[in-house]
Amino acid sequence: MFFDRNEQFKNNTACICDDGSVYTYEQLWNLGDELIGKSDGRKLVLLQVSNDVESLAAYLAHLRAGNPVILMSRDADSSIVEGMKDTYHLSDDSAENIYPDLALLLSTSGSTGAQKLVRLSYENIQANCSSIVEYLGLTCDERPITTLPMEYTYGLSVLHSHLAVGATIILTNRTLFDSEFWNLVEKHEATSMAGVPYTYAMFDRLKLTTMNLPHLKTMTQAGGHLKPELQEKFAKWAAGTGRKFFVMYGQTEATARMSYIPPDRCLDKPGSIGIPVPGGRMEIVEDEIIYYGPNVSLGYATCREDLAKADENKGRLETGDMGYMDEEGYFYITGRKKRFIKLQGKRISLDQIQDVLSQEYPDRDIAVTGEDDKKIAVWIAGIEQADFESEVQKLFEGKWAIRSRMVSVKSIDKIPRNSSGKIIYKELV
């Protein structure tokens, strides 16, 4: 497994940190063992992480020790962390009722506070890691720089896949708008960067395609649909400068990645999510994309008891994305089966928000609508807009860490509903 002590890599540089300190693989393993201390048997662990060597070392050591890990951001609100600890009985030190193959528990919704976790096995994370290594052609000469949070499945998969080949990770929490980030890219000769659509909007804002980055060879993108003009821009730049640009698709429910566009097809397949990763298979069933592969998670957990559950998905994932396949076997997404949107990299359930708001205002009829990276609209029947806007915005900030300016409250006479009482969202524009 990628987290095991692999003698072959022990003297390779595993990571370079913000402060310039350098760790070999052996030092990283030793640091991790030291950090987690002597094991007195398998137990569930909640680890709050950021992109630093202590987080990485401790995480890998827990995997080696067989401790199932719930990964959360070090910046997560303490009430959310406490809620998670209560829900999953972190104080319970026994692993008696925890499924033996359970390795990792990841949230699907970033910092929205939902306590639903995806259950991932050792096989899941190793299988996805191996297929990523294969389709990206990773070697120990790679030096990715971190651009995504470690607890986010895509950011984590970058770490896994590079550790698997003995590569060097440039670990930083610096953001793209921090000039020190670009100093690190240059100084440590970063070879690759990963990004969600919003990261690419920032790369574009920073005119990445005009920067002098001689060591940067590979760019990867996932975590939502990239605007066609940005896909084209980065694909052309990559093709013209001998770089590789990978557009990919994945979900936490499939460990991380399910499909990718081979870089030489990126320009002819705009809007596509590509072909399945090695070891995976996709098909369309009743317009929905179904994925099969060893990286399909075991299932979800919403309470401690769920950690005892075995593999419920059995290698088959209903992605919830509606789509089709073209004659060359490339897949395309046309919409979501359920109402999820991406807001600046975060996955948000409009239905969940609507439910919570309806509980907050039991006397009001409320509907919530939104699109990727656009303002969320909260429709409330029979109010003066000014009465509620700032209050509702505060709720969004407190409960879901969504900024005020991403939320608007709209007054409406009556929420449109069909005869069975379901909200007709398309009339809310």
């Binding site: 708008f177 920067m211 860490a401």
Partner: protein, 80 residues
């Protein structure tokens, strides 16, 4: 609006802060001014003065105070 008023408004409207908080305002020191907020701030400043900022300047505009020096390079005069 004067140049200073436009500049101040870019911050107060994006980050929900009051004018008296402005002098001490720095990138990433308040929740609203993260990388997402920075994108919006730069877009509003560019629109307000009809300028296009270089990469280096987008990075250098890391505090309210520093931003004034950055914009001076684009001929924005805050005494007008």
């Amino acid at each position: 609006m004067t140049n200073l008023e436009k500049y101040n408004y870019a911050f107060t409207s994006n980050f929900k802060v009051s004018e008296e908080d402005l002098p001490g305002l720095k990138y990433q020191e308040i929740f609203e001014w993260d990388s997402v907020g920075h994108m919006d701030l730069i877009a509003d400043i560019e629109a307000a003065y009809g300028i296009q900022m270089d990469t280096k300047d987008v990075l250098d505009l890391s505090s309210y105070v520093k931003g004034k020096d950055v914009l001076a390079k684009y001929g924005v005069n805050f005494d007008e």
